[in-house]
Amino acid sequence: MSERPLLESSGHSANLTEWEGTVQELRGLVSPRALTGETMLLNMGPQHPSTHGVLRLLLELDGETVVNCVPDIGYLHTGIEKNMEAKTYEQAITMTDRMDYLNPMGNNLVYCLAIEKLAELDVPERAQIVRVLLAELTRINSHLVWLGTHCLDMGAMSVFLYAMREREMILDIFEMVSGQRMMSTYFRPGGLWRDVPAEFIPAVRAFIDYFPAKIEEYETLLVNNPLWIDRTQGIGVITPEEAIAYGCTGPTLRGSGVNWDIRKAMPYMGYETYQFDVPLGEHGDVYDRFYIRMQELKESVRIIRQAVDRLEKTGGPFRSQNRKYVPPPRSELGRSMEAVIHHFKLWTEGFSLPEGEVYVSIESPRGELSCYLSSDGGTRPHRVHFRTPSFVHTMGAIPKMAKDGMIADLVAIIGSVDIVLGDCDR
């Protein structure tokens, strides 16, 4: 890009090579001091060790202080929503996995819940319990990666290695259940893909017996650490009113003290029958958000413990018996003609949903993840839209929190908001 010299007649010139739009557009986004060259425009580019993915931030800097922060996303835009319109409903579940890749089961879950709501499909008890269990395991998985990368950015490298070690145990459980470590596509409309194997419950019990000691370890390392406190307390403050106005959800909102958790406010999948607390923060700074997520790890272990106890007592089918949407097991195909017809229809063109639109939300580790599903009566989704928390946080919360802080604080803030760029760009 050629350098465009300045147009204001103050005698200085600003280097505008980072900006691809018009200068007119830039005028509205950065302060006038940038156009005279008094403050510097710096590109915290798509490839950077501390942006969690390909996020580009155009920073206007006055020395070390960030005056303005303009996010530029879209470097991971995969066109998932449009691509899902070309696939049948069940084929499209694989594409949802790849959106928020640290919470793959959560994405599957929200899409399957939307299909089940629109089709009024029942989900058996056993499937619901396994879904809750795996959703909470995914939450622990995501928080461990958040902890590891956040600490890595701030310089505490050993926590990253410890977190990844615990995460391997969870990934082994996912692999046992679905065959894949990360993108499992295990939840299907009506229940699960297949029943959990016999080694599942002992493995989960082994994990929840082993894990709380590790949470203690992380807390010993970080919670009362004066270096950590110095770098995170009072940084990146967002007030509750601002958080609600900018559309923040999840730990970003709860860090400011707003008690809003979709699992408690609008429960889905039986969450109202489990005992758990929702940790809240007070000051809305980086430390509070960090502390909330550590507490959420403990709460997730609590939920998993209850779910495993319930799972041992509950038998029954793992998927709905409604043959219009759920394929029959192969053993039935030899005996029943209707089963063969259903199998044929489901495999050739897939099931079709009644016309209408629904909107379903779940609490992902990042915030509120919602799916808007609109069907025109056909076998392919007419319009699927995902409201992802990272999109809203990147565009709204991060610039707000970064203003008047320093660049080093910006790294802490991005880590604490826990954005995942696949979630942001879809």
Binding site: G74, G247, S374, R387, G396, D425
Partner: protein, 173 residues
């Protein structure tokens, strides 16, 4: 805390001719309003005691090609106080879809409207800075429209491997 009031009744009472239709489906309420009065409607839902939909969750753009009206915008609102949801829907024609922006009501509408503009080509009047958000700045066309092709590449099987290979742009060092 005030008792929650029925949004549909209040809307029909106060907004009268702005409300075009009300749909109840699977337990969700959708209120269809006149697009040009969207700011007034949104302010009403946000500020009225007993409704207080202070949280804008999502703005979704839908394309009903080839039916008219072609575009629809769904505003999904939450009321955290009364834990309720509401959907406000507007329909827009296919030639020149434009309506006022609601960024003055909820600041989070800023980037959601930019995404609707980028993906569907709907113009929002009064938006502080309407430009592309997900696609590159010089991209032409609006990808999520129904008449925009998916843009897929032909899959290489063994019978057509060489034909496609010749046309594929491989990088030189």
């Amino acid at each position: 805390m005030q008792t929650p009031l029925d949004p549909v009744d209040l809307a029909k009472l106060s907004l009268k001719d702005a409300v075009l239709d009300v749909v109840e489906f699977r337990g969700e309420t959708t209120i269809v309003v006149d697009p040009q009065r969207i700011v007034e409607v949104c302010q009403f839902f946000r500020d009225t005691e007993g409704l207080e939909y202070i949280f804008l969750s999502d703005i979704t753009a839908v394309d009903y090609f080839p039916k008219e009206p072609r575009f629809a915008l769904c505003y999904h609102l939450y009321s955290m106080l009364y834990t309720r949801r509401l959907r406000i829907k507007v329909y827009l024609p296919s030639d020149d879809p434009r309506l006022p922006s609601v960024t003055s009501v909820w600041p989070s509408a800023d980037w959601e409207e930019r995404e609707a503009y980028d993906m569907m080509g709907i113009h929002f009047e009064g938006h502080p800075s309407l430009r592309r958000i997900l696609m590159p700045a010089d991209w032409e066309g609006h990808p999520q429209r129904k008449d925009y092709p998916l843009g897929y590449e032909q899959v290489q099987f063994s019978f057509n491997f060489d034909d496609i290979d010749r046309l594929k742009p491989y990088a030189k060092d």
